[in-house]
Symmetry: C2
Subunit: 290 residues, 2 copies
């Protein structure tokens, strides 16, 4: 596995791979790899000639009071994991190289962000799509891989690729969970012990909500209330939101009669956790994004 | 020459050219070709295996009170000219195909637009960079060609490519002029006869200003006043602006001691005309953009 630390070398390497007609599968990450990241790399390995992953904790997508400094980092372990998983290139740029000056051109997200995490993290998705546009131009992937755990991010990247005609395919893979159901996340290490014990209730609460839909419930408010009540009853976390929206356009629905997302974010002392389920009008878990 | 009218076919064609390792020179235009456009295509032909030009009068870059409807169009003649000039592909998408829905993702320009045309055309450059990002992704050029007449556009595209790491090179070619000095522009046909006769004074005024710098003047205000006075004296046009700024970052200067642009926009009844000169601290015309 080749480790590349400059934008210039990465872009030259990608151009030379493209000249050789290699397909590139790209897994953008903020590092501190868990099985979710590695599953993306494994799938990219199956689908493409070359797998490129990037590690970049992007300051642009963190608000001033957010956990940019506390975001967990372990480059040494990440390198070992990526190599074991079969990545061909690991791109680890520094901030100065990615943002050498105040940007004149940025990307703006005008929809799909006034809900869910976009509401409590203003500017977050602008930062995400701006860094992704840069990474996509540097790496020029054939396919790019994201985890469904960040479902709103997937919806926004779907719009990014479609609206700006990026010549690539978005692949979104299912959330990887711990044995007890907790969605794997780099931030889980920052949970206190009792919080870690309560955290699986987030997934259970979403499953309770989905079960209502399986049983015939069509009213989103009743489903949302079930999730709220479960999380409030079994955890000490402070709920940021529980929302049920159409997917991937993330619009409110009055009756569940299409593909929807049931999503939540919960603040614990140690970390803010997110999770979601994507299902159809019968409560069946969605296989595709659209 | 191949004429392509859908985004899908253009993107597939470009991908297949890239698979064959062809270099692509791209000349984005709004059509109604004059020698300025054709000079860009000729240079693209010299530099690349394949020349792609596009014709798209982009509604996103016109304000509500601007001349989107009046912008001159002559597709039939354009096709003949492009073919004669040696273009290999002419891409003529329709608006519905370029903007099939309200965009979720747009581009924003946060600097280099609070001056010159950006001030009198709010939103114009956002529209320009958004459509260019789309076209760059559809056509994936190796090099892209612009005329220096639209100098602020060149400065903004320079920032677009640099800030977002587009894997391509920007080539900006000198303004092509009529015998009497008037900068060639598709909009010139909309001038009334007496306006057409006065219009060459715009270039003469800029040249008068530059001559002061050649003669040793370092004060931008005196240079700007010379241009204002000349245009006001010899034309019936209403001056939108005359500005002298650093280039390509378009910041005000108090003393002329670097590469600068001396630029103007003048409203006539029939059309708003722009022109500029790019020169160094000694008044010598610049050969390069930076």
């Amino acid at each position: 596995m080749k480790i590349i630390r400059t934008v210039h070398e990465m872009q030259e390497t990608a151009l030379s791979l493209l000249t050789d007609n290699k397909t590139i599968g790209f897994v953008p990450t903020m590092g501190f790899f868990h099985e979710g990241h590695l599953a993306l790399m494994e799938q990219a390995k199956k689908d493409n000639d070359i797998v490129v992953s990037s590690i970049f904790v992007n300051p642009l997508q963190f608000g001033p009071s957010e956990d940019y400094e506390q975001y967990p980092r372990d480059e040494e372990k990440d390198i070992i994991h990526a190599e074991e998983t079969g990545a061909d290139v690991l791109f680890i740029p520094d901030t100065q190289d990615m943002y050498p000056r105040k940007m004149v051109i940025t990307l703006d997200v005008t929809d799909r962000v006034n809900v869910m995490c976009g509401r409590s993290r203003p500017g977050h998705f602008q930062g995400v799509v701006t860094v992704l546009a840069k990474l996509f131009h540097i790496i020029q992937p054939t396919k790019t891989y994201f985890g469904r755990k960040d479902a709103q991010q997937v919806a926004v990247v779907d719009a990014l690729i479609e609206d700006l005609n990026f010549p690539m395919e978005l692949i979104a893979l299912p959330t990887i969970r711990e044995q007890d159901g907790l969605a794997k996340s780099s931030r889980n290490v920052n949970l206190r012990q009792e919080e870690r014990e309560e955290a699986p209730w987030i997934y259970k609460a979403l499953e309770n909500g989905r079960q209502l839909v399986v049983d015939g419930e069509k009213n989103p408010d009743i489903v949302v209330k079930e999730v709220l009540d479960t999380i409030n009853c079994y955890t000490s976390g402070k709920i940021d939101y529980v929302e049920l929206l159409s997917y991937p356009d993330l619009q409110p629905v009055s009756v569940i009669e299409q593909q929807v997302i049931l999503a939540t974010a919960v603040y614990f002392e140690g970390a803010r956790l997110i999770d979601n389920l994507l299902f159809d009008k019968n409560g069946e878990i969605a296989k595709r994004l659209k």
